[in-house]
Amino acid sequence: MRNVFTIAGKELRGFFASPMGWIIMGLFALLFGYFFLAHLDYFVGQSMQAQQGGGPINVNQFMIRPLLQNVALINLFLLPMITMRAYAEEKRSGTIELLLTSPVTDVQIILGKFLGVLGFYAALLAVTMLYIGILFVFGNPEWKPVLTGYFGLLLMGGCFLSVGLFISSTTKNQVVAGAATFVVFLLLWIISWLGQSAGPAVASLLDYLSIVWHFDDFGKGVIDTKHVIYYLSFITFGLFLTLKSVDTERWRG
C-alpha cells in the first residue's frame, strides 16, 4: 500500500509541478464558473416568478442538481487531459523502465496512478466547492444532497479516469491517447441518446450502460447501491483492462 501512495503522490505532484495541471484546473474552474452563472441567472429568474405565485423554490433542486450534472460535460472535455499523459508519457520518456524494474507490482503501479489522477480530479472538484460555498453564504441550501452529489461526481469521474488510463497505456503518444479518450468518453456519453429512439427494453439497457445516467440519483441526494456498484465495477473493469494492457506490452516488449 505504501508503494501505491508513493506513486499516487508522484502523479499528483506531477500535475502541480507542470503548467498542464494548473491549466486544467483553470479551465475547469472557468467552465464550472460559466455554468454556475448560467444556472444562477436562471434560478434567480425562476424564483422571482415563484415569489409572485406560491412559495419559494428549492435551490438544491433547481440550481445545484443541474449544475452538478453539467460537471459530466466538463469531465468529457477535461478528463482526457488528465489521463492522457499518465502512461503514454512514461513510455515515451522511458521512465516506465524505472517503475517496471522497481520492486513494485503492476497492480500497485496502476492503483497508484489511478489514485493520483483521482486525487487531482478531487482537487478540481474541491475548487468548484468554492462556488457552491457562495450559495451557502447567500442562501440556505441543504448540504446533504450536495455531499452525495459530489460523491457521485467522484465515482463518475473515476469511471472516466479508469478508461482514460487504459487508453493511455496502449500508446506512447499523449495526443493520440487524449483524442481517443475523448472519443470514447463521447460514446459513453451519447449512448443514452440512442435509447430515446429505441424500444423500452433497449432504452433501459443503454441507460444502464450510460455513465451519466447513473449520476441522476446522486444529484437528488440518494446513494443507491445499484449505482455505486455500477461505478465501482466500471472502475475495476477499466483498471483491469489497464493491467492487461501493461502486461501485454511487457510480453511484446
Binding site: 508503494n3 509541478a17 523502465e97 524505472l98 524494474t101 522497481s102 520492486p103 507490482t105 511484446r252 516488449g253
Partner: protein, 347 residues
C-alpha cells in the same frame, strides 16, 4: 550472482536474443559487448525483470526474475540507456521518490534522506540537488541515473551504456566509480565502445545478432586471436623510401605505408609474434640516418577481435587495419579518453 541460461527473446518473428547463457560471479564486472542491435539491451531488460524471456531463465542474486520478480528487483539497480528521469522533479525529489519506491518500508525517513545524500555524494551531483532534471546536462542526467540505480545499495548493478554521451573527464570518473563499486556489487555493463570493456571489465561477453560469440577475459581474447604483431613506425621525410629497407629485417612479414605527411611518413610493420623486432627496426633507422619520430606496438586491440568475431567468416583471415589514434575521434569522445592510457607510445 547472475546466471543466465538459454535465454531467448522473440519479438514476434524477430529473435532479439537467441539462446544466450552466461554467469557473473559476486563482485566482478562483466561487460556485454556487441554492435547496436545485437541484443544487449534486451538481455538486460530481461535480467532486470522489465520484460519476460520467451524461453530460458535468468537468476539474479539467487532469485529467478520471472517467478520471484519483487525479490529479484530489490537486489538489482538498473540504469537504462536513457536515464529514466522525471523532468518536472528536482534531483533531490527524484531520488527521494526512487528511494521510497525501492527501499523496503522498514527504512526510516532519516535513513532515506541519508541514503539520498550518500548517493549524491558518491556520484558527485550534490551541487545539482535542487536543479530540475529537465535542465541537467547529459552528463549530469547520466549520473543522476546512476545515483538512482545505487540508491538501494543493490547486490547487482545493471548498466546499459553507462558512459554514453559523457565527456572524456566524466567517462573516466564514471569508470572509476564503476570499478570502485565492484567488489561490493556485481556489475553488468553493456557498451559498444571497446576500450571501455578492456579498461573496466574483468570478463567480456561478446554478443552478435542475439548470440554469444565469445566469453572470456579481455586479455585472453586478445591473446587468443593474436596472429601477428604490428608496429607503427614514423620517420621523418628523409626516410620516405624506408619501406623496402624495413622489409629486409628478419621477422618482418609485411610493410605498408600508413600515412604520408610533409614532414613525416608512417609505416605499419607486421611481424611474427614470437619475435620482438623493435630493437632491430630502431637500430636500422638510426643507422640509415633517418629521424625516428615514433615507434609503438599496435596491439591487436579488442576492437579488432570484436570486428573479427562480429563480421563474416571469410573476413576473419584479414588482419587489423584499424588504428586507434589518441585523438582520431573515430569513436567520439569515449575513445579519446580511453585511448589516452591505452595507446601510449612505449618506444
Amino acid at each position: 550472482m547472475i546466471e543466465v541460461q538459454h535465454l531467448t527473446k522473440r519479438y514476434g518473428p524477430v529473435t532479439a536474443v537467441d539462446d544466450v547463457s552466461f554467469r557473473a560471479e559476486k563482485g566482478e564486472i562483466l561487460g556485454l559487448l556487441g554492435p547496436n542491435g545485437a541484443g544487449k539491451t534486451t538481455t538486460m531488460r530481461v535480467l532486470t525483470g522489465y520484460m519476460p524471456a520467451t524461453e530460458g531463465s535468468a537468476t539474479v542474486a539467487g532469485y529467478d526474475v520471472f517467478t520471484n520478480p519483487i525479490e529479484a528487483k530489490r537486489r538489482v539497480g538498473y540504469l537504462p540507456e536513457t536515464p529514466p528521469l522525471y523532468p518536472d522533479m528536482t534531483v533531490r525529489e527524484y531520488l527521494t521518490f526512487v528511494a521510497k519506491l525501492k527501499l523496503p518500508g522498514s527504512v526510516s525517513r532519516s535513513e532515506r534522506i541519508s541514503r539520498v545524500n550518500g548517493v549524491m555524494t558518491k556520484t558527485n551531483i550534490t551541487d545539482m540537488a535542487n536543479r530540475h532534471c529537465a535542465k541537467l546536462s547529459k552528463g549530469y542526467k547520466q549520473r543522476v541515473g546512476l545515483a538512482q540505480a545505487l540508491i538501494h545499495d543493490p547486490e547487482v548493478l545493471i548498466l546499459d551504456e553507462p558512459t554514453a554521451g559523457l565527456d572524456p573527464k566524466q567517462i573516466i570518473e564514471v569508470r572509476d566509480l564503476i570499478r570502485a563499486l565492484a567488489g561490493n556489487h556485481t556489475v553488468v555493463l553493456s557498451t559498444h565502445i571497446l576500450p571501455e570493456v578492456s579498461q573496466t571489465c574483468r570478463r567480456v561477453v561478446i554478443i552478435n545478432r542475439g548470440r554469444v560469440v565469445a566469453v572470456d577475459t579481455p586479455d585472453n581474447l586478445t591473446q587468443q586471436l593474436k596472429g601477428s604483431a604490428t608496429l607503427y613506425v614514423q620517420v621523418d621525410a628523409a626516410g620516405a623510401d624506408a619501406a623496402a629497407a624495413l622489409s629486409t629485417i628478419i621477422g618482418v612479414r609485411q610493410v605498408s605505408e600508413h600515412d604520408r605527411r610533409e614532414q613525416s611518413v608512417g609505416f605499419e610493420v607486421a611481424s611474427d609474434t614470437e619475435r620482438d623486432i623493435r630493437r632491430d627496426v630502431a637500430r636500422m633507422i638510426v643507422d640509415k640516418g633517418w629521424g625516428l619520430l615514433e615507434l609503438r606496438p599496435l596491439r591487436l586491440s579488442l576492437e579488432d577481435i570484436f570486428l573479427q568475431l562480429t563480421t563474416d567468416e571469410n573476413q576473419l583471415a584479414g588482419g587489423s587495419k584499424e588504428f586507434a589514434f589518441p585523438f582520431d575521434g573515430a569513436q567520439g569522445d569515449a575513445a579519446e579518453a580511453a585511448s589516452e592510457s591505452e595507446a601510449t607510445p612505449n618506444a
